[in-house]
């Protein structure tokens, strides 16, 4: 099945059903389908070709959802980008994927003029911001407002151009080299992964899922895709800024499924829930980083009627492991077994398969193994290697696990130095590069340190020739150059950093 058919089939079955609740807005499947058709018609009328990349640089909202399905209906490949991505990185990604179209909420004319100059592949620019219309950007020629795209008359849905071997999306993820890489997901990959997850969560059209994770994060994105596939209702929030608002929404909308990351669950375990009726919740899911066992126990006490799914995955295969909730009491530290229809095993450095109790790299086989990294054949070859059958590829996760006698897996550590903070991947190399941009910084090192709330907090060590440089100066600079979740929590100045013989910072001796 094609990903846009998740929406189209649910529309055919239950056109009037509420598909999306977003703030004060409630849209039915038929309304979203109609608006996505309009969006697709606009893209096609303005030259979008099959396989062209369509970047969506918006916070969670109705327009992001319509843009996503509209891009697919036009035969395009959607690329959801974090709305807090700064301009320089945005340009890098848009040029990497050769984006032909962008839907953005830019704040000023300079932003759009800058895009036009810096990204030659862009042919279509659509603006959406409730506070400002595109008409206010008269010096950015060619920019059109989202509302104008929706107002155009269209005649049904566009002619289908794609098959399920075509790409549906690129999902950009941080890598150990410091450059974001776009994971290529074809329609069949997404169809399989969503189907497998829906199977073990037992989702039905009666489910109402509240998503406060960004749609640029595959965990957030898949909430939307899965709900539209099983024909449920998605309550889409901009974020988890106000826990009380989320809890009220769960109560008001009778939400049955709530996906979170450890930072969210850490906040919930310290929040007084007594005044909310949360009895509708059927399940909670956690992924992105392991939940501390103490939080698992607290969550089971606070949400006694809800099943808690501990899960593990990486963008390169979407989801990989899940722990059936009935196992949680017996093995709270485990992230479970391979998701339905897939298999995993552990290998040592020489490619030998390992048995119970041994520690090795997790290898993944299944139709959720994505198509590789966009424009990065070497990184693709390292991550996706030949599998069991001719032309098959399996995914080497770069994560070390051990397996118990009964086949359940336990995360041990990463092979690289990627930091997981607030559930997001942070590349130390990427942040170090930013730090070297601060005048006077001669050496920089970034590590993750354990943190009850964040999972890992980002700590930076800086050697600087300018004695006037303060901690605040470093933070101000970072805030201006990286996404919010990458801003360090701690800054420490050193006169020198420990080095290895090969001239690299010896991070294992930093803490």
């Amino acid at each position: 099945m094609l990903v846009q058919e998740f929406l189209e089939r649910s529309t055919a079955r239950t056109p009037e059903k509420t598909a999306l609740v977003c703030g004060n807005r409630r849209l039915s499947y038929a309304e979203i389908d109609d608006q996505a058709n309009r969006f697709a018609a606009y893209l096609l009328a303005h030259g979008l070709q099959r396989g062209d990349r369509v970047a969506i640089y918006l916070p969670n909202g109705v327009e992001a959802v319509i843009s996503l399905f509209g891009a697919l209906k036009a035969g395009g490949v959607f690329v959801m980008l974090n709305a807090t991505t700064k301009f320089d990185k945005l340009i890098t990604i848009l040029n990497d994927c050769g984006a032909a179209a962008i839907i953005a909420g830019g704040a000023d004319t300079d932003f759009y003029q800058g895009l036009q100059v810096a990204v030659p592949s862009l042919q279509i620019m659509i603006h959406h911001d409730q506070r400002k219309s595109a008409a206010e950007f008269s010096e950015a020629p060619g920019l059109v407002d989202f509302s104008a795209v929706m107002a155009a008359a269209v005649d049904g849905k566009p002619v289908l151009q794609t098959i399920d071997l075509d790409l549906a999306c690129l999902v950009y993820t941080s890598g150990s080299t410091g450059d974001s890489k776009g994971v290529m997901c074809d329609h069949s990959n997404v169809d399989f992964a969503t189907g497998s997850i829906i199977t073990y969560l037992g989702n039905t059209a009666d489910d109402i899922v509240l998503n406060c994770l960004p749609l640029s994060f595959d965990y957030g994105l898949y909430q939307l895709l899965m709900v539209f596939k099983f024909g449920g209702t998605l309550v889409l929030e901009k974020g988890f800024v106000f826990p009380a608002v989320i809890l009220q929404q769960i109560q008001r909308e009778r939400v049955t499924g709530f996906p979170g990351v450890p930072t969210i669950f850490a906040i919930l375990t310290t929040t007084d829930l007594a005044s909310y009726d949360l009895s509708s919740l059927r399940y909670l899911t956690n992924t992105a980083a392991a939940l501390p066992v103490s939080h698992i126990q607290a969550l089971r006490e606070k949400f006694p009627q809800a099943q808690l799914f501990s899960m593990y995955g990486l963008t390169e295969t979407k989801r990989t492991l899940y722990l059936p909730p009935q196992e949680l009491g017996r093995r709270p530290g485990s992230v479970g077994v391979a998701i339905p229809g897939t298999e995993v095993w552990l290998e040592d450095e020489d490619g030998n398969r390992l048995g119970a109790g041994e520690i090795g790299e997790l290898v993944v086989r299944g139709r959720h193994v994505m198509r590789g990294y966009w424009n990065a054949p070497e990184a693709t070859a390292a991550r996706y290697r030949p599998g069991i059958l001719p032309h098959e590829r399996v995914c080497y996760t770069g994560d070390l696990f051990r397996r118990d006698e009964e086949g359940f897996y336990y995360f041990v550590s990463r092979k690289d130095d990627i930091i997981k903070s607030r559930g997001e991947k942070v590349s130390p190399v990427e942040l170090e590069r930013v730090l070297y941009g601060i005048p006077g910084v001669t050496r920089a090192a970034v590590i993750g340190v354990p943190d009850d709330m964040l999972g890992e907090a980002i700590k930076v060590f800086v050697v600087c020739s300018d004695p006037a440089l303060s901690e605040k100066d470093v933070l101000i600079y970072c805030r201006g150059h990286v996404e919010d979740y990458m801003v360090p929590k701690y800054v420490e100045f050193r006169t020198e950093l420990p080095m290895t013989e090969s001239g690299k910072v010896l991070k294992t001796s930093l803490s």
């Binding site: 916070p59 901009k238 930072t263 906040i267 709330m453 605040k472 805030r479 801003v487």
Partner: protein
Amino acid sequence: MNHSVEESIRTYIAQNILFRNDGYPYEDSTSFLDNGIVDSINVMELVMFVEETFGIKVKDEEIVPDHFDSVERLSAYVKKKGE
């Protein structure tokens, strides 16, 4: 007195959340949420800040946009709690 509540909230956000030395760059009525000024961790820091600075106790159910989504709303809430 009333002026100082707004001013100390502005200063706190500028220095500790936005990491700016040149003051709070938005209007007092600007929504924190719509403009990405705070995240969930920042909101918890803001709660601790107003509890310590103004000697009030913030209940979990009071941490909502009506009270915490702009300098204007937060200062109105702080003043009401302090009455």
